[in-house]
C-alpha cells in the first residue's frame, strides 16, 4: 500500500485482533521498525503485526500502555498504569520483547 494508514492491527497468539493508532504502536521501537515501509517487511505492507508469543490479555494491556504512554508523554508525576498482578510476569516478558 502506498499510503500508510492511521491505524494498525496487532494480533495476539490466540487470534485476537487489536486495532490501534499507528503513532501509539510506534512507541515500541520493535513495532516501529516492523511497520516501517522502508524496511519492506510483510507487516509494513499489510499494516498488521502478529505476536506468536503474546496472548490476548497481555496484548490488551500492552495496547493500553501504548495509549497511556502517548497521553502522558510530557506530563509530570503521572499515576502508574494499573494491571492485575497475575499478568505481571508475562507482561514483563512482552515489555522486554517490545522494548517499552
Amino acid at each position: 500500500m502506498a499510503a500508510t494508514s492511521d491505524y494498525v492491527t496487532l494480533v495476539s497468539s490466540d487470534d485476537y485482533h487489536f486495532v490501534v493508532q499507528r503513532s501509539s504502536a510506534c512507541i515500541s521501537p520493535a513495532v516501529k521498525r516492523m511497520l516501517d515501509p522502508m524496511n519492506g517487511f510483510l507487516e509494513a505492507k499489510t499494516n498488521t503485526v502478529r505476536f506468536d508469543t503474546i496472548n490476548a490479555m497481555v496484548l490488551e494491556k500492552v495496547c493500553e500502555y501504548f495509549y497511556y504512554s502517548e497521553k502522558n508523554e510530557s506530563a509530570r508525576d503521572v499515576a502508574d498504569l494499573d494491571f492485575p498482578t497475575e499478568l505481571c510476569l508475562e507482561l514483563l516478558m512482552a515489555a522486554d520483547y517490545l522494548d517499552i
Binding site: 497511556y68 504512554s69 502522558n72 505481571c88 515489555a95 522486554d96 517499552i100
Partner: protein, 635 residues
C-alpha cells in the same frame, strides 16, 4: 410534686423542705438521680436487647421509678442465669445493627439523629419540671467516675471506667476493645481524607527513582512498572519463568534494594543455564544459601556478592569444588573468609580469573594474599581493591607486576610512599585504561608527572581526596599530553584543607582554575562524566570561560560541581547551553545559584530553594528558552 422535692423527702423524711437548696444537697440529689438513671437505663437496655425475658409490662419511660427499680432487680436476676448466651446474642445483634447501619448509610443515620433530637428536646434537665414530664424525663447521666461500672455504648458489655476510657459517638463511654476499634476506624478515615500533602515523602520517592535511572518526566516504562509490581509482591512469586538474564539482573537489583533478597527469594534467581549470579545484598543469606547457589549454577562465570557477611570458608571451599569457570569475582564485605582460604582461592581458581573486586575486608587479606594473587592470576585485567584494611605498600609493589592489568582502582588506608606509586605507574601505565587512586592524601606532583609520562591510553582517570598535588601539577598533566581525551574525569575533593587559611594558599593546591581549564581543553571533546565536587578554589572566571555557551562539549552527560561555591546562575546557564547531551547536573552547596529554569530532560539536583523540591526537572522548556529566561532574571 417536684421530683426533687419527692427525692428529698425520700432521703430525709423529717426534713423541712426549704426553697433554698445548698450545693451539697443538690449534688447529693444529682448523684441519686444519676443512680436511678443508671438503673433505669440498665433496665431499658436489657429490655431493648431481649424483650422476651424481661417483664412484659408497658415501655420503661412510662413506669414509675420504684417499679423500675423492682423490675430492674428482677431483670438482673434473670440475666445472671443466661448471661453468657444473652451476651453472645447481644453481640450478634449489635454486629447486625452495625452492619445495617453501615449499609443504610446516610438515610438511616439521619433518621437516628432525628429521633435522638426529639428525645433530647423532650428532656429538660432544669429543676422546674412540670409533673407530667416526670415520667418522660430522659435523665442526663453524669459521667461515671473511674472505678465505677458502666455499659459500653457500642457493645453493651459492662466494663470498669478508667481515666482513659474513650467516648462513644453518642456521648457515652465505650469499653476498651471498642475504644481501640474506634480509634483504628478514625485513623483509617483520616488517612483516606488526608490530601496527598505527603509531598516530602513523594519527593523522596521521585528522587530515589531518579537515582535508579528511572526517568521522572512522562510515563514510566512498562518494564519498570512490571518490575516494581514483582518486587512489591515478592512474597507471592514462586517462579520467574524464562526471564532473560538482563531483566533478571535488574530484578535482583530491585530486590536487593528493598532488602527482600532472602533465602526464600534467592532461588528465583538461580537457574542452571545462567552464567552469572549477582546479588547486591546478601546480608540475609546464610551458608545453605551459598551452597545452593553454587550447586544450582555450577557454570557461573561471574559472581558478584555484596554485603556477604555470612560467606565462610566452607562455602568458599564448595565453590572452588563446583565452579571451575569463574572469571569475574566481586566479594564485598566477606569478612569471615580466612586468610588461608584467600590463598586457596587464588591458587586454585586464579588461572582463569580476569576480574577481581574486593572491598571492605577488615579481618583478613594481607599483603601476602595480594602477592599470591599476582603470582597466580596472569590473566587479571581488572583489579579493584578498596578499603581492605590490612594491605599496604607491599601490595602496590606486587600489583606493579601484573602483566595484563588494564583497569586499576585502589583505595588503601595504610601509608603508601609516593615512590611506590610512581613505580606502579611507570611499570603498568602504558597499558592502563582506567586508573583510580582515591584518598592517597600524600600523593604529590611527581605522581601526576608519572601519569603524564607513562599513560597514553587512559580513558578514565580519578584522583580524589588529595591535598598535596598542586594546581600547577594538574595543569602540567593536561598540557601536551599524548593521551587521547578522557571520557571520565573525577577530581573531587582535591583541595587544600586548612582551617586557618580558608582562602587557600597563594599557589593553589588541588584542581583550581588553570588546572580545570587545562582539563577541559584537553578532554572536552569526548568527556562524558565530570566530577569536580569540592574543588572550591576554581574561580568564577574559570567556570565562565569553560562554560561560555560558545564552546560545546558534545558528550558530556553528568556534571558534579557540588561545593564549588564560586559558581552562580550564569555558569549553570552556560552549562545548559554548552552541553547538549546533559542529563544530570549535581550542584549541592552552590549558594549563588537560584532562579534556575531547567530545560527539558535535564535533572538538576541539589540547588537550594526552600519551597521547591531538591530536584528540579524540566517541564518541557527547551534549552534556549530556559537560558533566555535565566539571563532575563539575572540581568
Amino acid at each position: 410534686m417536684n421530683f426533687i422535692k419527692r427525692l428529698l423527702l425520700d432521703c430525709n423524711p423529717s426534713r423541712n423542705i426549704t426553697s433554698s437548696y445548698t450545693n451539697t444537697q443538690i449534688d447529693h440529689v444529682r448523684t441519686q438521680r444519676s443512680q436511678y438513671a443508671q438503673i433505669a437505663e440498665d433496665y431499658r437496655r436489657r429490655r431493648a436487647a431481649d424483650p422476651g425475658e424481661g417483664p412484659s409490662t408497658a415501655a420503661a419511660p412510662t413506669q414509675d421509678q420504684d417499679e423500675a427499680l423492682a423490675a430492674a432487680a428482677q431483670a438482673e436476676e434473670d440475666e445472671k442465669k443466661t448471661k453468657k448466651r444473652k451476651r453472645k446474642e447481644e453481640d450478634a445483634i449489635d454486629e447486625i445493627k452495625k452492619a445495617k447501619k453501615a449499609k443504610g448509610g446516610k438515610a438511616a443515620e439521619k433518621k437516628e439523629k432525628a429521633i435522638a433530637k426529639k428525645k433530647a428536646k423532650k428532656t429538660n434537665p432544669d429543676l422546674d419540671d412540670s409533673d407530667d414530664e416526670d415520667y418522660d424525663i430522659d435523665y442526663k447521666k453524669a459521667k461515671p467516675a473511674p472505678g465505677q461500672f458502666e455499659h459500653c455504648e457500642s457493645c453493651n458489655k459492662r466494663f470498669t471506667v478508667t481515666p482513659y476510657s474513650k467516648e462513644g459517638p453518642d456521648g457515652g463511654l465505650v469499653c476498651t476493645p471498642c475504644g481501640k476499634e474506634m480509634t483504628k476506624d478514625l485513623k483509617k478515615e483520616q488517612k483516606a481524607l488526608q490530601p496527598k500533602a505527603a509531598a516530602g515523602k513523594r519527593r523522596r520517592k521521585v528522587e530515589s527513582e531518579k537515582l535508579d535511572g528511572v526517568s521522572t518526566g512522562g510515563a514510566k516504562s512498562l518494564v519498570q512498572l512490571c518490575l516494581q509490581r514483582v518486587a512489591q509482591h515478592h512474597d507471592d512469586v514462586e517462579e520467574l519463568g524464562d526471564l532473560p538474564p538482563k531483566l533478571l539482573e535488574r530484578l535482583s537489583e530491585i530486590f536487593s534494594k528493598k532488602r527482600v533478597m532472602k533465602p526464600k527469594t534467592l532461588p528465583l534467581f538461580l537457574r542452571p543455564d545462567l552464567d552469572s549470579v549477582v546479588v547486591h545484598d546478601a546480608a540475609y543469606l546464610e551458608e545453605e544459601d551459598y551452597l545452593q547457589m553454587f550447586s544450582v549454577v555450577p557454570n557461573m562465570k561471574k559472581l558478584v556478592l555484596s554485603n556477604t557477611c555470612q560467606l565462610k570458608d566452607k562455602s568458599m571451599d564448595y565453590m572452588l569444588e563446583r565452579c571451575h569457570e569463574l572469571r569475574h569475582i566481586a566479594l564485598y564485605a566477606a569478612n569471615l573468609v580466612s586468610e588461608e582460604m584467600w590463598h586457596r582461592l587464588f591458587q586454585e581458581a586464579g588461572a582463569k580469573l580476569e576480574v577481581i573486586k574486593l572491598k571492605w575486608l577488615d579481618a583478613a587479606f594481607e599483603d601476602e594474599a595480594v602477592h599470591d594473587m599476582v603470582q597466580c592470576c596472569p590473566n587479571l585485567e581488572r583489579l579493584k581493591l578498596k578499603l581492605c584494611r590490612r594491605i599496604g605498600q607491599d601490595s602496590i609493589d606486587s600489583i606493579a607486576e601484573l602483566p595484563a592489568l588494564k583497569h586499576l582502582t585502589l583505595h588503601i588506608g595504610r601509608e603508601v610512599s609516593n615512590d611506590a606509586l610512581i613505580n606502579l605507574i611507570e611499570k603498568r601505565g602504558s597499558l592502563l585504561e582506567t586508573l583510580s587512586l582515591e584518598k592517597f592524601l600524600d600523593a604529590d606532583d611527581a605522581v601526576v608527572e608519572a601519569i603524564h609520562d607513562n599513560c597514553n591510553r587512559l580513558s578514565k582517570l580519578r584522583l580524589s581526596e588529595n591535598d598535596t598535588i598542586t594546581d600547577a601539577g594538574f595543569t602540567a598533566l593536561f598540557t601536551n599530553w599524548p593521551n587521547p581525551p578522557l571520557t571520565f574525569a573525577d577530581f573531587n575533593s582535591t583541595r587544600d584543607v586548612d582551617n586557618n587559611n580558608p582562602t587557600g594558599p597563594e599557589e593553589a593546591v588541588g584542581l583550581a582554575s588553570s588546572g580545570f581549564a587545562a582539563l577541559m581543553a584537553h578532554s572536552g571533546p569526548s568527556l562524558k562524566h565530570l566530577d569536580i565536587a569540592s574543588c572550591r578554589f576554581i574561580e568564577l572566571s574559570a567556570f565562565c570561560d569553560v562554560f561560555n555557551g560558545a564552546q560545546s562539549y558534545p558528550a558530556l552527560e553528568y556534571i558534579n560541581i557540588s561545593f564549588c561555591n564560586k559558581v552562580d546562575t550564569s555558569v549553570v546557564a552556560g552549562i545548559f547551553k554548552s552541553c547538549p547531551k546533559l542529563k544530570s547536573l549535581v550542584a549541592f552547596g552552590c549558594f549563588d545559584v537560584d532562579n534556575v529554569v531547567v530545560p527539558r530532560s535535564i535533572a538538576l539536583v541539589g540547588v537550594p530553594r526552600a519551597q521547591d523540591a531538591i530536584e528540579q526537572f524540566g517541564i518541557g522548556v527547551d534549552v534556549d528558552e530556559a537560558v533566555g529566561r535565566m539571563v532575563e532574571v539575572g540581568a
